[in-house]
């Protein structure tokens, strides 16, 4: 059995008196260390799917297992620990805290860990920032960074706690082609060297093609691409 197992997962949003099915009966079995790309039209339910796997939205129906455990039977604190230590989330929109520097933004998820690592976290933060090409922006505030640079800080942050699974929602959305390719190389490297599982939503078909497993969302339905 895989690291992530979705069985017939559905999510309906209540919109006024109607209900809108953002995800319909999604099933998937994703093994540890897999690199999965997800493509699909705007509004097809990609973000909703990642949020479900990230323990941020309750499914209307179905089960989501992480390493064999049904994550929606967990307490709020257990879900927080899961988000903190097991997964790294790259959001579709800007998600840095404006009053923290790039490095402090990276250190924030460390502060939420239940057991504080003894030391070396500062060095790790700097190393990750260098890895995404921001070695000279370590102490810059988000407002002092370009949109693409902010995006890369958020990418680096997702790796801070050494997650088993990266949930990336259009992580390279506002990057130029060259930087985008660099980020993709970085992801593949982490995937190979650390065995980190990736689920990456992208509109870039070239990037999607580089993933071993390719999925497509269409009107809430998840299928092989």
């Amino acid at each position: 059995m895989g690291q992530i197992v979705l069985t017939n997962v559905s999510k309906e949003y209540a919109v006024g008196s109607e209900s809108l099915a953002a995800v319909r009966g999604a099933s998937a079995d994703i093994a540890k260390g897999e690199f999965v790309s997800i493509v699909g039209h705007s509004g097809s339910g990609k973000t909703t799917l990642l949020s479900l796997i990230g323990g941020m939205v309750n499914p209307t129906q179905g089960n989501i297992l992480f390493n064999g455990e049904n994550i929606y039977t967990w307490t709020s604190d257990q879900l927080s620990e899961y988000r903190c230590e097991k997964i790294g989330f790259m959001f579709q929109s800007a998600s840095l805290l404006p009053i923290l520097t790039a490095k402090e933004n990276l250190l924030l998820p460390v502060a939420f860990r239940s057991v504080q690592p003894s030391n070396g976290m500062d060095a790790r933060a700097e190393e990750l920032l260098r890895a995404v090409g921001l070695g000279d922006k370590i102490n810059a505030y988000p407002a002092q960074l370009s949109g693409g640079q902010q995006r890369r800080v958020a990418i680096a942050r997702a790796f801070m706690n050494g997650p088993e699974l990266i949930l990336a929602d259009e992580p390279t959305g506002d990057l130029d082609e060259e930087t985008e390719a660099e980020m993709m190389d970085f992801f593949l490297r982490m995937n190979e060297q650390q065995g980190t599982t990736f689920m990456m939503v992208t509109h870039n078909t070239d990037l999607a093609a580089r993933a071993k497993t390719r999925l497509r969302m269409h009107q809430g339905v998840l299928a092989k691409a």
Binding site: T47, M56, V57, D77, F91, F112
Partner: protein, 395 residues
């Protein structure tokens, strides 16, 4: 945790003006607390100490002179009133009375008679005295002679001259000031003491209103086991010309007035507390709205509800500590400086001890912190319950 704390500090610095307003409001509340607690405590304490130092179980005064007596004993006002000496003998004859001694109060008037500004002169009977003697023991170690006087520890004789063994003119007679009194904590600290032997000469001078055979009041000691209140009632029933008050009743009038003042203070403080509470609440509601997205981000990357709670509580606590400390400093300053504007406080003879001041500061600190934390609790509770997803959708 230290990381989160430094994050709180950064949050506090985000809007310095708003933080300053909050700190200021809490500061005002706490200083009002410090001021009124100091005031009430000081007046209460002075009255208690004064009556403890008095050494008599009962005081018998002319009918209607209770208030004036309290003003002399507690507020060091200058007053005089007289009754016939025979009243003392009648008091002494009452069942349960162990000892009596009289005092005669004279008021000096600067221009008319004496070489000092307006002051109380207390003539006491050295043969029967049990009030003044104990205050003198340390200083003089002998009885006063005719023509000698002792200055109260705060009296203008003492303050003006700064030394003893100086001749002063009182009601036409020369007196040698041979010593100063221990501090008693009563209004009599401002008086000058002479013995009743001098009264005949003073009355002859015609510069006082007291007539021969008159006294101001009688101090009474009762036998062990006798209730002073019973004796007081007996005095009032049998002697129409006299009022009696038990020691524990001394200051009743002032305490009653004080109770009204305390009530006003209490109401002011409650109003200030309610206003501060709502200010904290309103500001933290605004903060909660502004930072909803940030909280969503933090929850999404793994913050527990308790992390959010601690993060914002730390912010409140820092603001509360700043405000309370400022308030304590300002309130203590007020209670020293502003209190001088209150006649009742100006005339009290005892000040607050260091322990009392510390306790008042501590109580006020706790009060300030409580308002801060309670006011912010609602908004913070709402903040920590935010769904992590909110952020992902908010563009």
């Amino acid at each position: 945790m230290t990381r989160l704390l430094s994050f709180s500090v950064k949050n506090i610095k985000r809007k310095p003006t708003r933080t300053a307003i909050l700190v200021f409001a809490i500061g005002l509340l706490v200083s009002a607390l410090v001021f009124s607690l100091s005031f009430v405590q000081r007046v209460n304490g002075s009255i208690r100490k004064a009556s403890e130092r008095l050494g008599a179980d009962l005081i018998v005064v002319p009918t209607g002179a209770r208030g004036a007596t309290e003003e002399i004993l507690l507020e060091n006002k200058t007053k005089s009133f007289y009754m016939d000496r025979s009243i003392m003998d009648r008091v002494a004859a009452i069942n349960g009375v162990a000892a009596v001694t009289e005092q005669v109060y004279l008021v000096t008037l600067a221009t008319l008679c004496c070489s000092v500004p307006e002051a109380m002169v207390v003539a006491y009977n050295q043969d029967t005295d049990f009030i003044v003697g104990p205050w003198l023991i340390e200083k003089l170690k002998r009885k006063l002679k005719k023509g000698e006087a002792v200055a109260g520890s705060e009296s203008s004789f003492n303050i003006r001259l700064g030394l003893v063994d100086v001749d002063s003119k009182l009601f036409g007679s020369m007196f040698k000031i041979v010593g100063t009194m221990d501090k008693t904590g009563t209004g009599l600290d401002n008086a000058v003491f002479i013995t009743t032997d001098n009264l005949n000469d003073i009355i002859k001078s015609g510069k006082v209103t007291v007539k021969p055979g008159q006294i101001s009041l009688v101090f009474v000691k009762v036998n062990p086991g006798v209730n002073p209140a019973t004796v007081a009632a007996e005095v009032e029933n049998t002697i129409i010309d006299a009022d009696a008050m038990a020691r524990k009743d001394i200051g009743k009038n002032i305490i009653a007035t004080l109770k009204d003042m305390s009530r006003i203070f209490t109401m002011t403080i409650i109003l200030a507390a309610i206003m501060s509470f709502f200010l904290v609440w309103a500001i933290f509601t605004a903060i909660a709205n502004e930072r909803a997205k940030e909280v969503g981000i933090m929850r999404s990357i793994g913050a527990k509800e308790s992390h959010i709670m601690n993060l914002y509580l730390a912010e409140v606590v820092v603001i509360g500590v700043l405000g309370s400390v400022l308030g304590i400093l300002f309130g203590s300053f007020l209670s020293v400086v502003l209190a001088k504007g209150f006649t009742i406080v100006k005339q009290l003879s005892t000040d607050l001890s260091m322990t009392e001041r510390s306790l008042i500061a501590l109580a006020s600190f706790v009060g300030g912190m409580l308002i801060c934390v309670l006011g912010a609790l609602g908004p913070i509770q709402r903040l920590k319950k935010l769904e992590p997803l909110t952020v992902i959708k908010a563009e």
